[in-house]
Symmetry: C2
């Protein structure tokens, strides 16, 4: 099989003490990772860090050097603990400036809903110099893109709306195809055969994920790769392997 050029990659930076304390389950990174995989941009790292400027600066600078695209979530609201925008500016060594279009949108929005515009709300118009806005059709306060870093809200409904706004600007690689082969076979009984299949087919990644259902032990074998024909071929071979072990495997597209 031909080896495709390295695909563009992504990293996700989740900013928020509430995730690190276990108070809030992070639902954003898994959702973003699945959307990015669909358009051929595999995620290579997810990092969760606190609302701390020095830590944010270090993580942003590490990840933007490693991945083609970086996405941050959280910390762009109006309260004192929302320090993401200032920290991104610090990471890039640029100023944080009142963005005229962001200010216009915020003033129009709060006038329309009958809330007072104030200093806290105008903080949400402070955007690093050189950044472009990412539209927020839910609550107006924009995200932004600076170089390869996309700064999104932490509230899931807003983050997802911002994704819809920015997605057309992303350039993905070949989409990753996947299927899963599930059976009540213990991993230890299939491991040798599975390893041989992986060795014989370096053009796909074969992952094995054990589970327990009603006390019965099984595993889902996930085959992933950009060559749909090869993924299907290896999936069939995995199913043959499991049948030879006496199981009745089920093949499901899309992992």
């Amino acid at each position: 099989m031909s080896t495709p050029a390295s695909p563009p990659t992504a990293a996700i930076l989740v900013i928020g003490n509430e995730i690190l304390s276990g108070r809030t389950q992070d639902a954003n990174s898994g959702w973003l990772a699945a959307r990015l995989a669909e358009i051929g941009i595999p995620v290579r790292e997810i990092r969760v860090i606190p609302d701390n400027e020095a830590v944010i600066v270090e993580a942003v600078n590490a990840l933007r050097a490693q991945a083609r695209y970086v996405f941050t979530t959280g910390g762009i609201g109006p309260t004192h603990d929302d320090i993401t925008s200032a920290s991104i500016a610090a990471a890039f060594g640029v100023r944080l400036l009142r963005h005229p279009e962001a200010e216009r949108r915020l003033r129009a929005h709060y006038q329309a809903v009958g809330s007072a515009i104030n200093a806290a709300r105008l903080r949400m118009a402070e955007i690093p110099e050189g950044a472009t806005l990412i539209d927020n059709p839910v609550s107006v306060a924009p995200g932004f893109r600076l170089d390869n870093v996309h700064v999104l809200a932490g509230v899931p409904s807003i983050m997802r709306a911002m994704w819809d706004s920015l997605r057309p600007g992303l350039i993905g690689g070949p989409p990753v195809r996947s299927l899963s082969v599930t059976a009540f076979v213990r991993e230890g009984d299939m491991a040798a055969g599975l390893g041989a299949l992986q060795n014989a087919h370096p053009g796909v990644d074969i992952g094995s994920y054990p589970f327990m259902t009603d006390g019965r032990i099984g595993a889902s074998i996930v085959v992933r790769g950009t060559d749909e024909t090869l993924v299907a071929l290896v999936g069939d071979k995995v199913a043959d392997l499991l049948r030879a072990l006496g199981a009745d495997p089920e093949i499901t597209p899309g992992a």
Copy 2:
């Protein structure tokens, strides 16, 4: 208020392509973070990385230098994609050795359940030199601790059982107390008052987490700190602030 000594901290390293692809929602890191917070070991970073030895080595070495305790999940099963134990050995520059007690447990287990012991299953007895075992009452194959790094399974029921095994050996700092004050107030209306409260009370962390319920916008203000009296005092002040804005706040212990 007196400033306590820095508490012991933790980092969590989630190892697994299935999390990065969005196929599997990581439930382990949030669960571990909450348990660690309960015993006074705040989590400072969660990192999700692929099943790739070079990446695991780099992340383990970065995190074990930064945090008092490191916990990894995933990649210690019998299949070809389970490379965590070998990668941890590489990170520490030690050999991976067949551990006699781990081998004894695995042989006894597979004999008892009537499955054949084989090379794949014996791989789960290969433990970095110098590590001590972490018991696995669910499926026997142990985790291990090497210096400050605790290597746990990825299957949630097994990871949690391993936590019960290792927890008595952890030395926490003062437990973090928290409460949340929830009201239908927009963040932008309370931001100035909240910021002033945070400035006046550096002994607690005040976080604001907006939400939308049936189209109504509100926020939960979480007050966290090791001084229970101070946390309660600041919680009351937050509630007073929200009442002054016309709301009827609800105070809930435990954030």
